[in-house]
Subunit: 341 residues, 2 copies
C-alpha cells in the first residue's frame, strides 16, 4: 500500500486533505545532482541503465518532496524502438537523421515487440518501484502519436512542424498508417509499464496545440482515444495536450482520469470546458519559477484558489526550465503542501 | 478614392460583394522577386531605403493579387529608435546584443522624436501610396509593447521568453516603465504612419499568447488599449495577439475594428468570444499552404464557410512560411476571390 496516495485519490475524484503536487521534468537539468550524472553518461545510457534511470527518477522525491515520481525516460524511445535512429544532444534537442518523408520510408518502420526493444524501461520501473518502497506513486508515460509523428517526419524540433503537417495533408493515408502503428506500439508499451508497476500513466501531446481543432481531432485525438481506452481500466491516465484547450470536453470524454492544462487558460474556464468528472492538472507558468520566492508563493496560492478544492493536481503548465533555482522549485512544492482551503 | 476598398468596408462592418484577402508576411521570402533584392541589400538597408521598401511592399499586390499592401518593415525598428542596437540576421533572427536586464539599463532607453528616428518609414509610406496609385489600401503596423519588451529584455528570439517574464515578475515597476515608454513611442510612430498615408494599422502581439490571461491583461492589453484609443478614430485598427483567444472579448472592447486570430480556434467560437461588432481576420494554418493545391482550395472554402459572410478578412493565422510555392499562395488568394456565399 502506498504511504502517499494523494494523487491516486485525487484522480479518482475523492476529496483529499490537501492538493497533491509534482512538476513536469522534475527529474532534470535544474537539479545539480542530475547534472553530475548527466556529465558522466550519455542520454540513452541514462535511460537504458535501470540503476541510473532509478536514481534520477527518485532525486526530486528526496530533494524537492513531490507527491509522485515520474519515470526518467524520453518520448522518443518509441520511434527508436520502431526502427528509426534517434540522437539526443544536450542543449540541442532531438535529431532523427533519416526521417519519414515518403510512403516508401514506411518500410523502415515496424510495430516492435516491446519486451525486446523497450524491456529496459520495464526493468527500470521494477527497480524504481522497489527503491521507492511505496513512498509515492510512480507515473509512467509515453508521447501521443501526433507528437511522435512530428519528430519522425520533421526529424528535429521545430516551431511549426510544417513538414510534418505537409506530410499529413499531402499523404493522409500514409500518415494515418503511421499514426496507427505508433498507437499500437504505444498501447503495448504502456501495458508493459503497467505490468512492471506504473501506478499512473501520462500521455504527452506536446505539439497538439499546433493543430486546428479539426486537425487535432483527426490527427491526434482519435489515436489518444484508442490508447486511453486500452489502459484506463488498469491505471488512471492523464492526457496532456499542450495548448489544445478547445478540445478539453472531447478529451474528458475519452475516459481519462486527468487532463493537463497549460497556464494560458484560466482554471475556471478550463473547468467549464472539461466538465466536473475529470481531474485537472497544472497550470503554473514555468517561467514564473524565476520570480522572487515571495512572488512564487503568492502566485501559487492564487492558482490553488482558482482551481478550488478537489479534482486538482498542482503542477507546472509545461516542463520546469533548467535555469530555475532548486529553492524556487521547493518553494512551489512547499506552498502547495502547506496550503489549506 | 481607393479602387479596391473591400478591406476598409469590411472593417466598418459593411456587407461586401466578396471576402477580402491578404497574407501576413506576404512581402517576403517565398517570393523569388524578394530574394533578388534580399541578396543585394542588408535588412535595415531595405527598410530604410524608401525605394526598396516600396518595391518589396508592392510585389505581392502585383504577383499574388492581394486586396491590401502591408508596409515592408520590422517591429524592431521601434526598439532601435528607442536607443537599442538591433541586428537582424537572415535565417537566424533578431539579436539585441545589449538587452535591458536591470533598472540601470533604462538609462539607455528613450522615447525618441519619431520624425528624426523613423522618418524613413514615413518617407517609404508616402512613396508606396504614390506608387500604389489607389489600387489597394496600405496597412501600416507596429509591434505591441509586450512583444517589443520580449526582445528588448531577452535580446533574441525564444520559445518561452523566460528572461523577459522573469524581468517583469521580479521588477514590475521597471517593466511597466519600459512598457509605457514603448507605448508612447508607438503611438507617435503610428500617428506618423497615418499622417504619411497608412489606411489601416495592425498591431502585432506575436508573444501575447505566451502569457496567462491575467498577465496578458496586466503586461499587454492595458498598453494595447492606450494605443488603439489613440489611433482608432483616424484609421481602422486591427489587433493580432497570437494565441490570446481568451481575451478576444476584452480586445474587441478596445474599439479595434478588427481582431486577428490564429488557426487554433474554430472561427465560430472566435466569433462567440469576440461578439458581433468586430471584424475577424484569419485564420488559415500557414503550414497548410504546403498541401497540394486541391487541398488548399477545399480547406480555404471550408474556412470561409466557417466564418460566414461579412465581418471577415481572409488571411493566414501567422506569417507565410518561406518554403511555400508562389502558386500555392496564389491558389489561397484566388480561392477567396472566386468564392461567393
Amino acid at each position: 500500500m502506498l504511504k502517499n496516495d494523494l494523487i491516486l485519490r485525487t484522480l479518482r475524484g475523492e476529496q483529499t486533505e490537501r492538493t497533491p503536487v509534482w512538476m513536469m521534468r522534475q527529474a532534470g537539468r535544474y537539479l545539480p545532482e542530475y547534472i553530475v550524472i548527466r556529465n558522466k553518461y550519455g542520454f540513452f545510457e541514462r535511460c537504458q541503465t535501470p540503476e541510473l534511470a532509478c536514481e534520477i527518477t527518485i532525486q526530486p522525491v528526496d530533494i524537492v518532496g513531490v507527491d509522485a515520481a515520474i519515470l526518467f525516460s524520453d518520448i522518443l524511445v518509441v520511434p527508436q524502438a520502431m526502427g528509426l535512429e534517434v540522437q539526443l544532444k544536450e542543449n540541442v534537442g532531438p535529431l532523427l537523421p533519416d526521417p519519414i518523408k515518403l510512403a516508401s520510408d514506411m518500410a523502415r518502420v515496424r510495430v516492435p515487440d516491446v519486451d525486446e526493444t523497450l524491456g529496459y524501461v520495464f526493468d527500470a520501473i521494477k527497480l524504481i518501484k522497489q527503491e521507492l518502497n511505496d513512498r509515492v506513486p510512480l507515473i509512467g508515460f509515453a508521447g501521443a502519436p501526433w507528437t511522435l509523428l512530428c519528430y519522425m517526419v520533421q526529424g528535429k524540433g521545430s516551431k511549426t512542424f510544417d513538414e510534418a503537417k505537409a506530410f499529413c495533408y499531402a499523404q493522409p493515408e500514409v500518415a494515418h498508417q503511421l499514426l496507427q502503428m505508433i498507437t499500437d506500439t504505444t498501447i503495448a508499451y504502456l501495458k508493459g509499464q503497467i505490468k512492471a508497476g506504473a501506478d499512473v500513466l501520462q500521455l504527452f501531446d506536446s505539439w497538439g496545440g499546433l493543430l486546428s481543432p479539426t486537425d487535432f481531432e483527426n490527427l491526434s485525438l482519435r489515436y489518444i482515444r484508442q490508447i486511453v481506452a486500452a489502459v484506463k481500466d488498469e491505471v488512471p491516465t492523464i492526457v496532456f495536450a499542450k495548448g489544445a484547450w478547445h478540445s478539453l470536453e472531447a478529451m474528458a470524454a475519452t475516459g481519462a482520469a486527468g487532463l493537463g492544462i497549460d497556464w494560458c487558460i484560466d482554471p475556471k474556464m478550463a473547468r467549464k470546458f472539461a466538465g466536473n468528472n475529470v481531474t485537472l492538472q497544472g497550470n503554473f507558468d514555468p517561467a514564473k519559477l524565476l520570480s522572487p520566492i515571495p512572488v512564487i508563493e503568492a502566485e501559487v496560492k492564487s492558482m490553488l484558489q482558482a482551481f478550488g478544492p478537489g479534482r486538482h493536481i498542482a503542477n507546472l503548465g509545461h516542463g520546469i526550465l533548467p535555469n530555475v533555482p532548486v529553492a524556487h522549485a521547493q518553494a512551489f512544492v512547499n506552498t502547495v503542501k502547506e496550503f489549506r482551503f
